[in-house]
Amino acid sequence: MFTESIPFLQVVVPILPEIGLLILLLTVLLVDLFTRLVRKRTLGVVTGVGMIVIMLANLFVGFSLVNDASYAGTALGGMIRYDMLALMFRTMVLIAGALTAFISIDTPVVGKQGEYFGILTVATMGLSLMSAAADLMMVFLAVETASISLYILAGFLRDSKLSTEAGLKYYLFGAATAGLFLYGLSLLFGFTGETNIYNLAAPLGEMFAGDDTGAFAVAVALLLLLVGFGFKVAAVPFHFWTPDVYQGAPTSTTAFISTASKAASFALLVRVFDAVWPVEVAVYWTGLLAAMAVITMTLGNLLAIVQKNIKRMLAYSSIAQAGYTLIGVVALTETDLGTAAVAFYMFMYVLTNIAAFTVISVISNTTGTDEIADFAGLSRRSFPLTLAMILALLSLSGVPPLAGFFGKFFLFAAAVDAGYTWLAIIGVLNAIVALYYYLTVVKVMFVDPNEDTRPLVITPAFAAVLWISGVGILLMGVIAAPWWNWALNAAQSITAMAP
């Protein structure tokens, strides 16, 4: 298998972001070593700028080579699949990582720790691999690289009861579901003797069509995989960790978990479920996911309404957003629009949620808490912050002409196109419910009185993040077509170019 020599570039190009991130990790550790006494701000700047450089390099190389026959398809002995979907999701993950690094600079405690930025880089590496993994081993390794780093990031504030509790809860829930997920992977390997996800569908199909025992065994593997993915994307009934972790973890970590981790998990979910399950099984998993989508949207939105803590509210909102996105996954067996809608939605969600958590960071740096009540009178205290928060909230609720509107539009269009009109209707109803609690925050910002007149400091790092994400939200909304075409290309690339 490895007897013929593979040209150097064909080995390097498919894992370019990971190589870049590894170099960045070593650089960050070195910078940490030599800036002990100097200004620690350098750490975050190096990490953030490094990730942006890696993202741009990967985009540049990717767009020129991803359709080139000698690079496209699976690489590195089948471990990685180099295609447009991987390119798009890696871009999202790297953007989220870079913006998180910038937010972390001015987040108390974590901003001065080299380890925080190092582990953030490793987590980004894991998530980047998740976007491209094409082998059961790589799937497991990528998921665990990302998860283990995220547990540490969530429990990073060792002296904070909230943060350590968040870390432990995330760990216990994550490790247990990882065990179930892994058992599912071992069954898939056992049923087929293959580990490449693109070779699994045919033997699994035979087994499913064979007899009742075979069908039952495939169903068990499917359920175990669903548990793992349900945990990663925070879908009901595997969502219990989400509000606790979001509230307890340092705000920059919350921003990262809610965006990059969710995006990469959806990339993996789309790729694995599209490739692994044979046509005969498709009707079952789409049915299960459709049910999960409905419960996830509804429960997330209803529980978000009663929250008093803004991070907790956004946690339930992020559960609801995962529910909307699952609609796209359900639709992907019928139409390419499904995958494209998932990719577009995740891209806009990354930018939008980062903007929201940046505003929360600025405010909690002054007040020390993160209650919705802290937002009272924000419109009179800081106009730029109010504007950024309104952009983020309206985009999350799906108000035109912002990115979120097109995200939801494409998702529901994909559902209708695939024959799931009822799912689209439930999605629209849920979006209306969600509008209520997003607008409650807007009301608090404009109407409620607040005696607190302490100045809100928007540091250059926060300003940069708000600018990047704010402009992104507007751009993806006002000029949605190029992004949508990119997402469509990505969707077509997972089925095209058979390995």
Binding site: S160, A176, S186
Partner: protein, 102 residues
Amino acid sequence: MIPLHWYLLVAAGLFSLGLYGVLSRRNAVAILMSIELMLTSVNLNLVAFWRYLSPETVNGKMFAIFVFAVAAAEAAVGLALIISIYRNRQTVIAEDINILKW
């Protein structure tokens, strides 16, 4: 030779014990041990499948090696988190770690 399904039954039994432990134990360290039991049973599964179904490839062996390497890293991080909880609260009972709710 012992038939394959014996190994699979043992692995499934161990896995179920681990899962039962995760769901029923109150002590965080015991939950961690149960999780390790789940991962170990997966390894048994992988090695048995590899030996009986595709011994000519290295897939199953490699997978098992990755799994226990990752399991070790996971246990290290888990114990570290449990220690930092213990320093803050002087308890490792999962039910008492409940500041965050609703």
